[in-house]
């Protein structure tokens, strides 16, 4: 006979499904938005990695709402859209999340500066992973300046996105409590 606790657990898990679905949808829209941003001359060939910021923030503060499959789909979608090395971004994003899940400390206690520095390491690792595999498979090293620009712009946008995501999250919490 099943214990009643298990039913509660199942119910809790099912209640997260709609949230996960919504997060997945937002993630996909964000990837498409990244693609649209490429039409701005300033971001030509080096669009800020908004999807990475989103994945990083979600993994840090709402890990349960960010299933692995969403990260895979987001990565694969941007690979297809930007015609990068197919699977390159998806793999690097998933590796990053796997690594982040190994964190022992509670991210809620971290100062913003620490979060930012960790993000610097994360984005460099993601880009390096892609660069190494791209160079190995194509036997050529692409120009590094667009990559630097991409990293730089993403790092500049990180604090803004961080505040924005927190604001949205707080707003949703309030609506949830109110409802």
């Amino acid at each position: 006979m099943k214990k009643t606790g298990q039913y509660f657990e199942k119910a809790m898990e099912h209640s997260e499904v709609s949230g996960r679905f919504l997060i997945g949808f937002v993630g996909i829209i964000l990837v498409l938005f990244e693609g649209a941003l490429a039409s701005w001359p300033i971001f030509y060939g080096a669009v800020p990695l908004l999807s990475l910021i989103f994945i990083y923030w979600m993994t840090l503060y709402h890990n349960k709402l960010m299933p692995f499959i969403t990260i895979f789909i987001m990565g694969l979608l941007s690979d297809i859209l930007f015609s990068d090395l197919i699977g390159g971004r998806a793999t690097s994003y998933m590796l990053l999340v796997l690594f982040m899940n190994l964190r022992v400390t509670d991210p809620q206690d971290d100062e913003f500066l620490k979060v930012w520095i960790n993000f610097v390491i994360a984005i460099i690792a993601v880009m390096l992973f892609q660069l190494i595999f791209f160079s190995a498979i194509n036997f050529a090293i692409p120009s590094l300046s667009p990559m630097m620009f991409q990293i730089g712009v993403t790092l500049i946008l990180f604090p803004i996105s961080y505040i924005f995501l927190f604001a949205i999250s707080n707003l949703l919490e309030r609506i949830k409590v109110f409802a």
Binding site: L32, L37, S39, G45, L85, G87, T91, N138
Partner: protein, 306 residues
């Protein structure tokens, strides 16, 4: 606290799923590179599906860009006016020069037949995406197999060569820009006729390689497609020599890829030559430079073979 058997089972299931996704993602990198037809078709199918969505999302983004552009234009109106007057004057002089050269070109063509354009029909297409990543310079353009686009079709603007169609979907095609690291374009220096190969670097500029040792490219010299290989027609402007330094020659592309909105896909021309269709000759014939006497196909400006 010890984990229950059901929890353990769930954790194990999750780990297996994570591992599986990692393996799929990792192997995709190699499958994608293996150039399997089914994979390319699936990719283009996905692009066909995604293109309208990204197009829809781009509307507000383009709106903001237009607004910023408008503000910038108003701010620089006076300077722009002065510049336009000077440019207009220069263009008038160039127009007169072009008329003379066009007539000279026509005469040369009737003699040699070397510059007869192949049977290519321009098809206007809209650039749906722009290169967003650091690892690939490709754009998705509207029109695909339904309009007769084929892999290998050159893509141009009035300024010159943009790239070449590499993947064709039902209603969209992917164009490999000449600035992509995988793009190799056989070219010649317009005034000295030395052949070479431009190589993309996934950046703003191209590198001109495989030039003969005797070649001395001059700054600002026009670089045109040579037509070697038979895929690209000869005489499409690729760019201009921008830097010459210790054997390294840098080319600035003729087309500004940051402002790519509409392009022409040159259909046909891959099977045979249609000498009746001379539509493109006015736009894509090489422009000889005064100071140098060597011209495309080894004929100098006075018509003498070199």
């Amino acid at each position: 606290m010890a984990m229950r058997a059901s929890d353990k089972h769930r954790v194990r299931q999750r780990r297996v799923a994570h591992g599986l996704l990692m393996v799929i993602s990792f192997s995709l990198m190699f499958v994608g590179k293996a150039d399997i037809l089914a994979w390319r078709n699936a990719q283009m199918g996905a692009n066909d599906f995604l293109a309208p969505a990204i197009d829809f999302i781009s509307i507000p983004v383009r709106g903001v860009e237009t607004m910023v552009e408008g503000i910038r234009t108003v701010a620089s109106l006076r300077a722009e006016n002065v510049r336009l007057v000077a440019e207009n004057d220069l263009l008038k002089r160039w127009q007169r020069r072009a008329e003379i050269l066009e007539s000279e070109n026509r005469q040369l063509r009737s003699v040699t037949g070397a510059l007869a354009p192949k049977g290519r029909v321009p098809l206007t297409a809209r650039a749906v995406t722009a290169p967003g990543g650091s690892f690939a310079h490709t754009v998705l353009v509207s029109n695909g197999a339904d309009k007769g686009v084929q892999p290998g079709n050159p893509v141009v603007t009035a300024d010159g060569l943009v790239g070449m169609v590499v993947d064709v979907g039902a209603s969209h095609s992917r164009v490999l820009l000449i600035s992509d690291i995988n793009a190799r374009i056989p070219v010649i220096l317009a005034s000295s006729s030395w052949p070479g190969l431009t190589m993309g670097k996934n950046g703003t500029y191209l590198e001109l390689a495989f030039l003969p040792e005797e070649a001395v490219p001059s700054l600002g010299e026009l670089v045109l497609t040579s037509g070697h290989g038979g895929v690209l027609p000869a005489g499409l402007p690729v760019g201009r020599v921008d830097l010459v330094e210790k054997g390294f020659v840098r080319i600035k592309p003729a087309v500004d890829f940051r402002h790519l909105s509409f392009v022409s896909v040159l259909l046909g021309g891959l099977e045979g030559v249609d000498t009746n269709n001379l539509e493109l000759e006015e736009f894509y014939t090489p422009l000889p430079i005064d100071e140098n006497t060597r011209l495309l196909e080894g004929v100098n400006a006075s018509g003498a073979r070199q």
